[in-house]
């Protein structure tokens, strides 16, 4: 899952028009004819990706040269942001995707709407769907799924194997380093603007990441993201505030976060323990998961 703040979405919107224009001027029909001729044996050549984690996986597989367009949540690696954009992954346009003459659409769990995916499939473009969830096993499964869809199963097995060994190593090292220490209570804060903070409960990527990092989500008892009042923030007694940034432009979040009513009066606020991560890195559940979990553990336990 990838979290994109509304502001980031708007900022990307400007780039959208330019990117889209390049996309539509490709001699797409010609390229498609060539792809159709050779595609069956060597795997798809004109792939459209809808989902930031899937894009990362395609790069990890070294198959990025087959991708002709991706969606607005595909923010990593940097080269992925230069490709034509098919828009926000929840509001895809059937004709827009078809206009690129793809021979495969990789659709993340959140891609949609469902009827648009059905229309794309009905027009003869294979659509590979992926499941939703926040576990390392699912990431491995997704890596293999992407590789199989691209007909590079060997690469998939290799990358998935490396991912799993990285993962086991990261988890082991977290357990040995921070296993016995008191678990810090962490409050995850999404988009800290406005008069209320949005915080993560259970069944969120942030909650899963905290559990993997041997930290405790300071708020339990509800699912998804909720606005939180100043008093509830104080009552939650977080030791660390965790938040996300989108892109390098974001200013240091500590100041703005601690200016929020309530947050300054938490243990985390008094100690100025604020940890910020890139949103896709922290919550993306892509191939960088082991590194992200290790870094999260290090920073919430030692900051």
């Amino acid at each position: 899952m990838s979290v994109l703040t509304r502001r980031a979405l708007m900022a990307r919107g400007a780039r959208l028009a330019a990117g889209a224009w390049i996309g539509s001027t490709l001699p797409a029909a010609l390229a498609h004819a060539a792809a159709a001729a050779s595609g069956a044996k060597d795997g798809p050549k004109r792939v459209v990706v809808a989902g930031g984690a899937l894009t990362e996986i395609v790069y990890a597989l070294g198959a990025q040269h087959r991708v002709i367009a991706n969606d607005l949540t595909s923010l990593y690696p940097d080269a992925a942001t230069k490709l034509p954009k098919i828009g926000y992954l929840r509001t895809l346009s059937a004709e827009g995707v078809l206009s690129l003459h793809p021979d495969l659409l990789l659709a993340g769990a959140e891609a949609g709407p469902p009827n648009v995916l059905a229309q794309i499939e009905a027009a003869g473009v294979p659509v590979q769907h992926f499941r939703h969830g926040y576990t390392a096993e699912l990431v491995r499964e997704t890596i293999r799924g992407v590789a199989n869809a691209l007909k590079i199963g060997d690469d998939g097995a290799r990358v998935a194997g490396r991912f799993m060994s990285d993962w086991v190593r990261a988890r082991d090292s977290i357990d040995t380093q921070y296993g016995i220490a008191r678990r810090p209570r962490v409050l995850f804060i999404l988009g800290h603007t406005g008069n209320q903070v949005m915080v993560a409960g259970q069944d969120t990527a942030a909650d899963a990441m905290l559990a993997y990092a041997n930290a405790e989500n300071a708020l339990r008892g509800f699912n998804g993201y909720r606005p939180l009042t100043a008093e509830a923030a104080v009552a939650a007694q977080p030791d660390v505030l965790l938040t996300t940034t989108t892109g390098p432009s974001s200013a240091e979040p500590t100041v703005s976060l601690l200016a929020q009513p309530g947050l300054a009066n938490t243990p985390a606020g008094r100690a100025r323990r604020v940890v910020s991560f890139d949103a896709l890195y922290l919550l993306g559940f892509g191939p960088r998961l082991p590194q992200a979990v290790a870094e999260l553990a290090r920073r919430v336990h030692t900051t």
Binding site: L16, S24, I86, G87, T91, N115, G224
Partner: protein, 387 residues
Amino acid sequence: MSAAPPIHPPTKPSSSSRLREPTSSTADVDTTGPTRAGAASRRPPRWLVMTALAGLLAAAVLAALCGGAYRIAPGDAIGALFRGATGDFVQDQARNVMWQIRLPRIVLGILVGAGFGAAGAALQALFRNPLADPGLIGVASGAALGAAGVIVLGGVLLPTALAASLGLWMLPVAAFVGALGVTALVYRLAAGRGRLALPLLLLAGIAINAVSGAAIGLLTYLANDTQLRTLTFWTLGSLGGAQWPMLAVIVWPVALGIVALASQCRSLNALLLGEAEALHLGVAVQAVKRRVMIACALCVGALVASSGMIGFIGLIAPHIVRLVVGPDPRAVLPAAALFGAILTLLADLVARTWVAPAELPLGILTALLGAPFFLVLLWRRRGQFGL
């Protein structure tokens, strides 16, 4: 209640405001009135306007067929519509795009524009208030409430078997049920002893819109991240969901609604004089109100359910055509339906080509295209309002 409702403009034909001039001129019941002749002479003949609008609609349909993210040469586009399966992948895909994506979208666009335009025209005549639009009687907020309810609580409240069997239909069905439910509630509040009090209807509509808004707010609060985004994008409106099976269902309530509204045009025209006056002219005033309400709820409810909230068409299309054809509902309603369809098709064409291969939400564009056009017309007509 036959007294003038507090919200609509003064009803006395003798009022000095030129705004009322149209009302007095719609005394079409006595067709020889001198005011009518005076007013009509400044307007293009009705048949000319209708022909022009029909021609424009045909052009808009053609443009919508030929334009789109998927590159098909304009000449080829029409050809692709009438070509059978050739076995050639590229040609067959072009044909698929035309038949399965573009054409249903255009049909839905025409239905949306015509439905909102006709409903807006009828309600503006019924309320004798140019600010009336389908949103006023609770249809839109009811549909939004139904949709929000099923997006947020669907997984919890509905039995899994029912949810599975409804599938893609769940959202439209819930929105339609919500639209009809809230409209019925508004209607029930304002009706009694065989009468329908329009001011009460308006106030009840405003109050229930507020209640629905609060309920949607509550659901927004309960929603998780995913549901929240689905809800947001549903609210913005899009024709992207157009599919033949869905169209085959909604075309009936919409067509029925438009026909029912059209059949009330004569009575609506008389109603512009005032309820008492219309009653004396032999119009079954209460029955007309009831029929218009039901027809609007039916037609707009089905449309909002299938396309989300597409604003401004119902408000602006009747206005714009009224500036050209005059206030007689018998002219305004069909013209507003045609003009609404043109406006929707053009807005959708822009929505799906401007940022291709992505797509803009249509609700934004109808407002963006319609409102400035409307403002320009208002500016040019300032003189009529004594400015």
